[in-house]
Amino acid sequence: MNIDITEFNRINVIDTCAIDNLLSSATLYRAARSSNCSFCYTKFVEYEMLYKNRKNIDEKSKELQQKLKDETCAKRLECHNLSIDDLQEIEILEQRKRLGSGELSSIAFAKKINQNFMTDDSKARKLGGLVLGIKRVQTTPHLVGWLFYKRELIDSDFSVIISEHQNYNRPLSQYFEEAYLESLRIRSMNK
């Protein structure tokens, strides 16, 4: 996937998986916020994160749930509601059997407020791109690459981010590394 890490849209509606990936690393999340990135999620994603039956929920997932609650209480993350009209949009109806409901509600809300959708699933990214346009669908590795490129994150942060991410059993270390290396490559070319 070709992602231009020199640019990143700061306002994102974020899906369940990407919330876990973002909150897994306090270093990454802090850097994103200090770069004026803002994230919100939908009520369905809240249901998916906090209420939906998860049979084998482990301690790490519970910690991520608590982080979401804390960030929402502190108004650093906002939770929003779609209307029924938003669900009746033709493009949303057309994608309803192809996307998970969390992804679908995030895309519908991003469309409504004319902002961006953040997901870490490659298929959701492509399907979301059909509704929003591919430039308005972003990923957590993209955010990582951009923060390193902008020097909001420094080289010594990389191993910390990976360690924090892996501590929560999240799956994106390899892609964080690729994004980090891409930032080094671009920066070296710009020297």
């Binding site: 996937m1 992602i3 899906d15 369940t16 998986c17 939908t42 009520k43 369905f44 809240e46 249901y47 998916e48 906090l50 209420y51 939906k52 039956n53 998860r54 049979k55 084998n56 929920i57 997932s61 509601n81 779609l82 209307s83 029924i84 009209d85 938003d86 669900l87 009746q88 109806l93 309803r96 059997k97 192809r98 996307l99 998970g100 409901s101 969390g102 992804e103 679908l104 509600s105 519908a108 997901t119 870490d120 699933d121 490659s122 298929k123 959701a124 492509k126 399907l127 990923t139 590795p141 993209h142 690459g145 799956p171 994106l172 390899q174 892609y175 690729e178 994004a179 891409e182």
Partner: protein, 377 residues
């Protein structure tokens, strides 16, 4: 399009009632207050879009069903079914039934994405119901599927899936029901087999329900109880017996000298219970009454009964695959869902929903099938 909140509230209420749930049960699981749920169901307030998605997820429905007038759900049929047989389904079994319908809808959608083409078997239409029509139809279907003489099936489930039937097994805990057939407005003909029964009995139930799907499809649904003696049930039994034990196979055995060991071997070869085999042998005059009674005491231990859908599965993962099967997740279904995911038709979130798990559990299920999720930078 403006929403009729009275009709919407009734649909949501119907979903809850079909599952025999109280408002408090739902409230706890979905994070919406009892008062608000009640107001929504009464049609006093309009739910938000997210609440519609939550109801759709919780009740395993297509959200479009709630916000349009299209007949997209089997909820009405299920309501009629429960009105007729409600006492025979526990709360757990109602969940199992709802998830079965959800799996059928998903399977149809996935097969559409994969451009899977069914072969169209036109079952004969009979003005009246006679037992022998079962055997006639079984023979026609065997020929249609290309089976010659006494040839047996390598996988009964995949044979029936070829003709466009959605087949799932679920463990029905407190039910007298061995299987059922539902004609879904979108997904088509759907068959549920009670996984609680022994494997060979399940083969018989499956074939029995296939007969209902082929010959009784003027009805919206059919529920088969253990020891049911209705005419249509007798015809369906005749179909099942003839399909599982083809007459040409019996002919081959006409000159055989039967003993206990041979009876068990042949039953295992056909993957039917001893009782089913003996009835077929007796009705074809291959054994007499005294042999029938002598052999009737024979039993094949459950553990020795090989499952068509677990053939060749490594012993290290067989228990995990059994657990999936009893939830309805057959290898056929899981692989097709993953194929649709791999080809970009569905996202991992949708894949997880199709497999009745959350995304954190996806990897462990896919590992059992040596399948992977794709991430990318």
């Amino acid at each position: 399009m403006p929403i009729d909140i009275i009709s919407l509230g009734k649909k949501i209420n119907r979903c809850r009632k079909n599952l025999a749930l109280e408002l408090s049960d739902v409230s706890e699981k979905v994070g919406i207050s009892i008062e608000r749920l009640d107001e929504i169901e009464r049609g006093h307030i309009e739910p938000t879009g997210d609440e519609i998605l939550i109801f759709a997820d919780f009740y395993k429905q297509d959200y479009k069903y709630f916000i349009s007038n299209e007949k997209l759900s089997a909820t009405e049929q299920i309501e009629v079914l429960y009105r007729k047989f409600g006492d025979d389904f526990s709360k757990e079994d109602r969940w199992a039934l709802q998830e079965f319908i959800y799996l059928c809808e998903n399977e149809q959608e996935i097969l559409n994405y994969l451009e899977y083409e069914n072969v169209n078997f036109s079952a004969p239409k009979y003005p009246n119901v006679y037992k022998s029509q079962g055997a006639e139809t079984a023979e026609k279907l065997r020929q249609f599927l290309g089976y010659k003489n006494d040839e047996l099936y390598s996988d009964l489930f995949s044979e029936f899936r070829k003709i466009g039937l959605h087949i799932f097994r679920r463990r029905l805990c407190n039910s007298k029901v061995s299987g059922l057939f539902i004609k879904h407005p979108n997904a088509g003909k759907c068959i549920l087999v009670n996984y609680d029964e022994d494997t060979y009995r399940q083969n018989f139930t499956l074939s029995h329900e296939v007969c209902h799907a082929l010959l009784d499809d003027e009805f919206e649904f059919s529920v088969s109880f253990k020891n049911d003696n209705d005419y249509r049930e007798i015809r369906a039994n005749n179909f099942a017996s003839s399909f599982l034990i083809p007459p040409s196979f019996i002919e081959k055995l006409r000159a055989v000298t039967w003993n206990e060991e041979l009876i068990v071997d042949v039953a295992n070869q056909l993957k039917v219970n001893v009782q089913t085999l003996l009835i077929a042998l007796k009705s074809n005059n291959c054994i007499g009454k005294s042999q029938y009674e002598r052999f009737m005491v024979l039993k094949i231990p459950r553990k020795q009964k090989e499952d068509f859908e677990l053939k060749g599965v490594s012993p290290t993962i067989i228990e995990s695959k059994k657990t999936l099967l009893e939830k309805g997740l057959s290898t056929y279904y899981v692989r097709n869902c993953h194929e649709a995911y791999k080809n970009g038709h569905i996202s991992s979130g949708r894949l997880a929903e199709n497999l009745l798990v959350d995304e954190s559990e996806l990897t462990s299920i896919l590992d059992l099938f040596k399948l992977k999720l794709d991430y990318e930078y």
